[in-house]
Symmetry: C2
Subunit: 582 residues, 2 copies
C-alpha cells in the first residue's frame, strides 16, 4: 500500500479521489491554502495539483479535517449507533470517542461491545471507552457491576479504547481500593482515562490528575478550564442538549493554551441533532462567542487526535487518514461533503451510506426484567401527617427537599387537590421486586402516569403518576414493548419503544423523533409543566449524586446527607420552610 501512496503523491498515477479547487485549512500553520486534496488507499497523499479517478469540485469551499467528538454518550441520542451516525456524519463528524456509560450500566460489557459492533455498520470511526462507574453509586441496583478486576480484564479487550469518565472523584481522593485498582489497570496498560470533575481545583485537582486522569468536560466556567489546562488536562468544550459550556469556556482559550482544548457533545438528543446539528453546532456557538474559527477547528480536529493518540487523524496532510469535512465557510459551518477513509460519506446533509435495520444482540434486548406490578404496589403508607417531598426545580435536574402535610386514607396517601404526584423507581434488571416510593411536587401531571426506562444512572423504571392504576398500567406497557417511554391517562396508553437496553430505539431517526415528540405532547396534555422536558427531567430524579432529594429503587435518598431517608417526616418548624434536619 505504501507504494500506492508514493505513486499517487508523486502524481505518477492518478489518485483514487481528488477534492478539486479547495481552500484547505492547514491545522499545522493555521493558514488556508488553495489546492487539490489527493486521496489514495484511504489516505491523503498530498495537497497540491492532482488528478483523480473520482473528483469532487469543492471550489470556494473550505475543507477541514473530519471533526472529532471527544466525548459522547451515543445512548443519549436515544438512537442506535447506526441512526446516530446518519445524523452526525452529515454534520462533518468523522470520529467520536464514545463512552457507553448508560448501556453498560444496564447490560454490562456486552452493552459496550454492542456499541462497538453496531458502529462497524457505519463509516463513522467510533472509539469505545470502558465505563468506569458501573454502577454509578452504591445506592441503587444497576444491571451490571464492573469492579476493579473486571476493569483490568476488559481494558485488554481489543474494542476498548480507554477508561471512561471517572465520575467518582471522592473515590479517587479517598483512595477507594476498587477505584485504585481501575486506575492502576489503565496505567499499566497505557490507556487514557477520561475525567469528570466539576468544580474541583487546587490540591484536590492535583491529586485527581496525579492519579492518572487526563481530561475533563465538566468545567462550569472559564477560570476552571484555565486551571485544569494549566495542570496538564485536556479540557473539552461541551455543547450538549442540556449542558452547554462552549460559549463560556471558549473564553479560556489563548494562542498559548489552545492545543489542550477539544470539543465534545456529551449528551445530545436525536431531535437536537436533527434540528441543530452536532459538532458543527458547537463550532458555530464557539465562533459566535468570539472564538477564532481556525482555533475552533484545530480544537475539534488535531487537538482531539493528539489527546486520544489517534494516529493519522486530525489533519489534511500527506499520510493522514482521508477524513475530511467541507464547509461553506468558517462561520455557519454548513457541511456540504463529509469524506471518511477516502469515501464520500455524506453530501448536503444526506448520508451516503446504508446500514440496514440495526442488528440487536440478545444482550441488549428484553432488558425489562420485572414481573407484573399491580396497583397495590404503589400504595404509600405514612406513619404521620408529614412527608419528605422532592420539589423539582426549574431545569429539572436539581431538586429541593421539602416537608409537606399529606393526607392519608386507607393506608395510602391522598393526592387529589395537591400539586403532588407519586414517584416510583421499579428495579428492572434482576427481578428483585425493589420499588422505591416517594412524592414529587411541582411537575403538574394530573390524571395519569408517565413512565420511562431511562433513569440515570442505573436505568431502572421510573414512573410518575397521580393514581396507582395508571402507574401500574404504565409499567405494564413498558413490559409489553421491552422498554421505552409511555404516557397513560384518560383512557389512553401511548408509548415509544426504546428496545435497545431500554435506552435507545431501533427506529429510524425521523420516525423516532416524530413519535417521541407526539408522546411528549401527550405528557404536556396531562398537565406537565413546560418548565420541564417531561421525560428527560424525570430521568434525572433517580440520580443520587445531584442535590438534594432523589429516589432510587432502594428508597428516598438525601444527597446532602449522602444517606437514605424515610418518606415520613417530622412536622416542619414553620409553615412552608424546608424540613428540619433530623
Amino acid at each position: 500500500m505504501i507504494e500506492r501512496y508514493i505513486d499517487a503523491a508523486l502524481g505518477k498515477t492518478r489518485a483514487d479521489v481528488v477534492l478539486k479547487n479547495g481552500r484547505v485549512l492547514n491545522v499545522f500553520t493555521g493558514e488556508v491554502q488553495r489546492g487539490d486534496i489527493a486521496i489514495a488507499g484511504g489516505k491523503i497523499v498530498g495537497v497540491g495539483s492532482y488528478e483523480g479517478e473520482h473528483e469532487y469540485d469543492i471550489g470556494g469551499k473550505i475543507a477541514v479535517p473530519g471533526l472529532i467528538d471527544a466525548h459522547v454518550h451515543i445512548e443519549s441520542s436515544q438512537l442506535s449507533p447506526e441512526e446516530f451516525a446518519k445524523l452526525v456524519v452529515p454534520c462533518g463528524t468523522t470520529t467520536v470517542i464514545a463512552d457507553p456509560h448508560e448501556i453498560t450500566n444496564v447490560c454490562g460489557i456486552d452493552g459496550a461491545r454492542y456499541i462497538a459492533e453496531a458502529s462497524k455498520n457505519t463509516p463513522l470511526n467510533v472509539k469505545v471507552m470502558l465505563p468506569s462507574c458501573v454502577p454509578a453509586t452504591a445506592f441503587e441496583t444497576s444491571g451490571a457491576v464492573i469492579g476493579g478486576d473486571d476493569t483490568q480484564k476488559y481494558l485488554q479487550e481489543d474494542f476498548i479504547f480507554g477508561l471512561g469518565e471517572f465520575m467518582n472523584y471522592p473515590g479517587v481522593i479517598g483512595k477507594d481500593p476498587e477505584v485504585i485498582k481501575k486506575l492502576e489497570a489503565a496505567r499499566a496498560l497505557g490507556k487514557i482515562v477520561d475525567g469528570h470533575a466539576p468544580e474541583t481545583s487546587g490540591e484536590g485537582l492535583n491529586a485527581y490528575i496525579a492519579a492518572g486522569i487526563t481530561t475533563d468536560h465538566e468545567c462550569a466556567c472559564a477560570d476552571e478550564a484555565e486551571e485544569k489546562v494549566s495542570k496538564g488536562m485536556y479540557v473539552h468544550l461541551r455543547e450538549g442538549s442540556a449542558t452547554r459550556n462552549v460559549a463560556e469556556n471558549c473564553r479560556a482559550v489563548t494562542a498559548a493554551n489552545l492545543r489542550r482544548f477539544l470539543f465534545c457533545t456529551d449528551d445530545r438528543h436525536a431531535a437536537d441533532l436533527k434540528a441543530n446539528g452536532h459538532l458543527d453546532n458547537a463550532l458555530r456557538v464557539a465562533v459566535r462567542a468570539g472564538m477564532n474559527p481556525v482555533w475552533a477547528v484545530i480544537a475539534a480536529t488535531l487537538n482531539a487526535a493528539e489527546c486520544y493518540g489517534l494516529k493519522g487523524k486530525g489533519a489534511i496532510a500527506p499520510g493522514y487518514d482521508a477524513d475530511i469535512a467541507v464547509f461553506d465557510d468558517l462561520e455557519h459551518f454548513r457541511c456540504t461533503l463529509t469524506v471518511i477513509g477516502g469515501k464520500a460519506a455524506a453530501m448536503d446533509g444526506i448520508p451516503l451510506f446504508e446500514t440496514g435495520a440495526p442488528a440487536l444482540p440478545e444482550a441488549v434486548k428484553n432488558t425489562v426484567r420485572v414481573g407484573q406490578v399491580p396497583p397495590e404496589r404503589f400504595r404509600l403508607s405514612l406513619q404521620g401527617k408529614y412527608a419528605n417531598v422532592i420539589r423539582i426545580v426549574k431545569g429539572g435536574v436539581v431538586t429541593q427537599k421539602v416537608v409537606r402535610e399529606v393526607p392519608s386514607e386507607g393506608g395510602d396517601v391522598q393526592l387529589r387537590g395537591t400539586d403532588l404526584c407519586k414517584l416510583a423507581v421499579v428495579e428492572r434488571h434482576h427481578g428483585t421486586g425493589n420499588i422505591g416510593l416517594g412524592l414529587l411536587e411541582g411537575y403538574g401531571l394530573w390524571g395519569g402516569a408517565l413512565v420511562l426506562t431511562i433513569a440515570h444512572d442505573s436505568h431502572n423504571i421510573i414512573v410518575l403518576g397521580d393514581n396507582n392504576e395508571d402507574m401500574s398500567a404504565a409499567v405494564a406497557e413498558l413490559r409489553r414493548i421491552g422498554g421505552g417511554m409511555a404516557v397513560v391517562g384518560r383512557g389512553r396508553v401511548q408509548s415509544v419503544p426504546l428496545d435497545i437496553a431500554g435506552l435507545m430505539s431501533s427506529l429510524p431517526a425521523d420516525e423516532y423523533i416524530r413519535r417521541s415528540e407526539e408522546l411528549l405532547q401527550a405528557a404536556y396534555d396531562l398537565g406537565v409543566s413546560r418548565d420541564y422536558e417531561a421525560f428527560m427531567s424525570l430521568s434525572f430524579l433517580a440520580l443520587p449524586v445531584i442535590p438534594a432529594l432523589k429516589l432510587t429503587d432502594k428508597g428516598l435518598f438525601d444527597v446532602t446527607k449522602f444517606d437514605f431517608c424515610p418518606v415520613d417526616a417530622a412536622p416542619p418548624a414553620e409553615e412552608g420552610a424546608e424540613a428540619p434536619q433530623e
Copy 2:
C-alpha cells in the same frame, strides 16, 4: 503507587522531594508561575505550596521540564553513553532519542543494544531507534547489513523505540522493495519513523511523508522548515558541532506552528559538549537569534514528548515524570539543577551519579578485523600521467573532482613536491582485504600519516599519508589499540583509542578530550591545514553520498555520476580545469 501520588498531591503526607520557591514555566499556558514543585514516587504530584522529605530551595530560578534531544548520534560524542550522560545531564538534558546509526553500521543490532544497555547505567532517559540505513550505501563494505526482514524483526525488540532517520530518499521515491519493507514494518507496528530529507519539497516531499516518515532535522533554511511543518512533519531545530541550523530555522516558528518544532543536536563532539553545552546551548542560540524563550523551551520539552509519544514527559504538572531542569534565567540557560525521575542528577555542572567504568560487551570490542597491511599495499600504480584527485573544500565535507598530472616511479606515484597525499580506505569488518586507494589535494599533511576508524558511514579504516611506511605503521597502531585515531610521522606514533566499535572511547570525558586535543595538535604539527578539523574532515571522505569525489574500500566514487571511477584520468582539456566528464 497511585495512593502515594494522591496523598502527596493532597498534602496529606510529605512529598519525597520538593523544589521550593521556584518560578515554574508552564508549557501548557506559556506562563511562569511561582510555587513549590512536589515530587512523590518519581512523579510530579503538584505545583503549589508543599513540603517534602528533601527540599531544594531554588528561589528565584526557573524550573522547566527536562530537555529532550529529539535526535542524537551518541557515537558522535566519541564517548561511551555513560560519559555522554555525564556531560549532557548537567546541561538540563533528561531524555534523548538516540539513533545509533554509526555503531550499528559496525556491529549490527548488537551495537544498538549496547547503546541501550550502557545507557541504563545512567539516569538519562535514552530511547534507541533502529537505524534504517545499514549499510548507508551499496558502494562500501559495512560491518553489518540490516535488511527489510531484519528491520521487521528488530523493530519488535523491547529496546527499540522506532525507525531511525530514513536517509534513503531516492529509495523511498523509487519504491525500493527493501525500503518499502522497512516502512511497512514500522507502519504495522505503529513505530515512529524519523526522516532525513534535505532540500526536498513539493510532490516528492508529499510522497516521502505519505510513506510514513514524520520528522526532519535537515532543513537548510526557514522556508524549507515551513513547508515541512505545513505538511505535518515535526521539524527539529538542530545545533550540532558541524551543522548548526537553529539560528536560521527558528525564523520559521510562529505561534500557530510552534507545536511542530523540536530541538536536536544530531552530532556533537565531546569537546564541544564540554565547552559549549548541549541543548542548553541550542536554546541560547535560539533566543539570541530572536526566538521567544518560552517557545524555545516548549519546543525542547512538550513538543518533543508529543512527537515521540513520550507519555508523562515534557511538562511540570501533576502526573508527569519528575524530569526537571532549573536554569538561572531564560537567556543564558545556565543549568544549576537537573532532576530525573525525582532524583537530583546534576548540580552546578557536576553530575551526581556514578557509572563505574563502562562495561563493554564483546560485540563492540576488537572491531578492527584486519590483517597486517604492509607498505606495498599502499602503492598506487597509474597507467598514465594523469589522475582523478579528490580536492578537499574548506569545511571538509564537500569535495571537488579535479585532474592532476602525477609523476610515477617504480609502479608508485611520487608525491614529493606536490600538495597531494595518498588516501586509503581499508576494510576492517570482514577481513576482505579490500583497500580503496586515491589521492587527496589540499590537506597540507607532510611527512607522516593520519589514521582513523571513524569513516562515514561504514567506518572502515581511513588513512591519509605521504608515504607508504607511515600509512602502514598507522594502520598497525589502530590494530594494536583496537580502533581509534593515530598520528604517525617524524619517528613518533601517537594515538587515542576508540575502543568501542572504533567509534567511541571508554576513557573518561576529560581525559579523552585532553588526549584527542593533543593528537589533533600533532596532526597540525604535520602540516594539516587549519581549514580542517584534522580527523573529522577525514571521516567524511569515505561518505559516498556527498559530492563530488569520495573514496570507499571498493574504490574511488564519483558522487555526481553515482558510480565508481578509476584513479587514472584522461588528460584535462585545459590546465587547472575540472576533469572532463568521461
